[in-house]
């Protein structure tokens, strides 16, 4: 039985506001509705707020296609590999990629991550203050990306600059398209040149990029332009997601003394903080994932039509009582992590989830071991932005204690 369409006209996919607003802005709607039709001046789309429905839709790629992954780009100029492919084409790429992102393979990166975290934290401790976003959160995943791909670490400043261009919003929270495209073209140009260089030298070279040069699809070598496309997606998918998940986590801890002391206590004792990371990922899930409807279907009593776009704000699903009692509050001491959807669900489940988890645990444990005491720099109020990924503009931390 479908019910009349529930239309919402005051919700916006893109915006800026207080840090907590990024996730809280779904709470009131979710309390009343499972699925709504959002009408904005420039676009309209369905929004699913219910945990079970989000999971079921994402598990059904035949109806919910990844051809469109955000209502912000309803006619994408390029299909990104593998995130915009549907099965069975998606399955081929995913099989090639998966072994390089398995929990075991990712575990091998842990020592390098610990080393880099220790260096960054020591420098910050010595300075006595930092902007966590710029000085730590953006840098760590970029180092990991270079390491994983098999690229020289001296490329770090270049990649950091491109990343900011391609992913960060302007001060008003808008995305300057020309600037973003400039950043993306720079990354594409880099990978084109690097792949050509490796092909000419006759040596595939190190890392995932080296392995990719030997990949075949249906017995035919994967074309270089597809490999460049895939490298670009790996660059876009793994940097600001990790950086911003870390930034929201640190903002929470900087503003909640008991939680900060809990994490610092675990870190000092050398106890695992995996459950802490899960709970922070759940409560501050940064991505809002989109799909395009391929055939008419009823979801939560609403009639969706072929061609409609759908948005799944994962933070809304993760704060649904259907997932776990008390889901609307953050609790670091439950002792059992909830099976949240911060990494999505279905065939496109975040390929980098095992890496992201290691990055988050190493980063948070490494910080709290050395800097157990800290607070927002007095007289500053960090601001957040939201869109496909939620973010924080800057997170000035100080008052590191003695």
């Amino acid at each position: 039985m479908t019910t009349p369409t529930t239309e919402v006209t005051d919700h916006r996919l893109v915006g800026v506001g207080a840090v907590d607003e990024a996730g809280d802005r779904f709470d009131a709607l979710r309390a009343r509705h499972r699925v709504v039709r959002v009408i904005e001046p420039e676009r309209s789309y369905w929004m699913v707020l219910d945990h079970d429905l989000v999971r079921e839709c994402l598990q059904n790629p035949a109806v919910f296609s990844s051809e469109v992954i955000t209502p912000l780009s309803p006619d994408p100029p390029l299909s990104m590999i593998p995130i915009q492919l549907d099965p069975p084409e998606h399955t081929q790429w995913r099989r090639l990629l998966a072994q390089y992102f398995s929990p075991r393979t990712m575990g091998l990166l842990r020592p390098r991550l610990e080393e880099r975290t220790a260096e960054l934290v020591a420098a910050i401790r010595a300075r006595g203050a930092c902007d966590y976003v710029e000085d730590f959160a953006l840098e760590l995943p970029t180092v990991v990306f270079l390491e994983l791909m098999g690229l020289p670490i001296d490329e770090l400043p270049t990649f950091l600059a491109w990343e900011k261009q391609a992913l960060a919003p302007t001060g008003e929270g808008d995305f300057d398209k020309d600037r973003q495209i400039g950043g993306i073209f720079s990354v594409v140009g880099y990978f084109q040149a690097e792949i050509a260089r490796r092909r000419e030298s006759g040596e595939r070279g190190d890392g995932l990029l080296g392995a990719m040069l030997g990949w075949e699809l249906d017995g035919v070598p994967a074309p270089d332009d597809a490999l460049v496309n895939c490298c670009l997606l790996l660059f876009l998918a793994g940097l600001d997601t990790v950086a911003m998940s870390l930034s929201f986590a640190m903002h929470h801890l900087a503003t909640h003394d008991a939680d900060r002391r809990h994490v610092a206590g675990l870190a000092a004792a050398g106890e695992p903080i995996d459950d802490v990371v899960e709970e922070l990922l759940r409560f501050y899930a940064v991505p809002e994932v989109g799909r395009k409807v391929k055939q008419d279907i009823e979801v939560g009593g609403q009639q969706l039509r072929a061609g409609d776009l759908v948005l799944f704000p994962l933070v809304a699903a993760n704060r649904d009582e259907a997932l776990v009692a008390g889901a609307d509050a953050l609790d670091l001491t439950t002792g059992q992590a909830a099976p949240h959807l911060a990494f999505g669900a279905g065939p496109h489940r975040c390929l980098g989830s095992h890496l992201a988890r290691i990055e988050m645990t190493v980063a948070l444990a490494g910080w709290h071991r050395v800097i157990p005491e800290y607070a927002l720099r007095p007289d500053t109020t960090p601001r957040a932005y939201w869109g496909n990924v939620h973010g924080i503009f800057a997170l000035p931390l100080a008052e590191f204690g003695s």
Binding site: R55, Q59, R95, A98, Q99, F101, S102, P103, R104, D274, Q336, A337, P339, H340, L341, F343, A345, G346, P347, R349, S353, H354
Partner: protein, 64 residues
Amino acid sequence: MRIVVDSGLCSGHARCNATAEDLFPLDDLGYVAVTDPTVPAGQEKRARDAVSACPERALSLIDT
């Protein structure tokens, strides 16, 4: 007690494995590859915790 895997739903979150590594081994790609579905006596709680850790609801248990 036996473990039942809906492999069509498993998408490789590996949360089952993070909860009870021995009962839920992974294949090389990181997807669950249960070799012995029988839950040894005394391991029922760990099996239950691992099953409820799966974000895809791909796992279930049946009493034998």
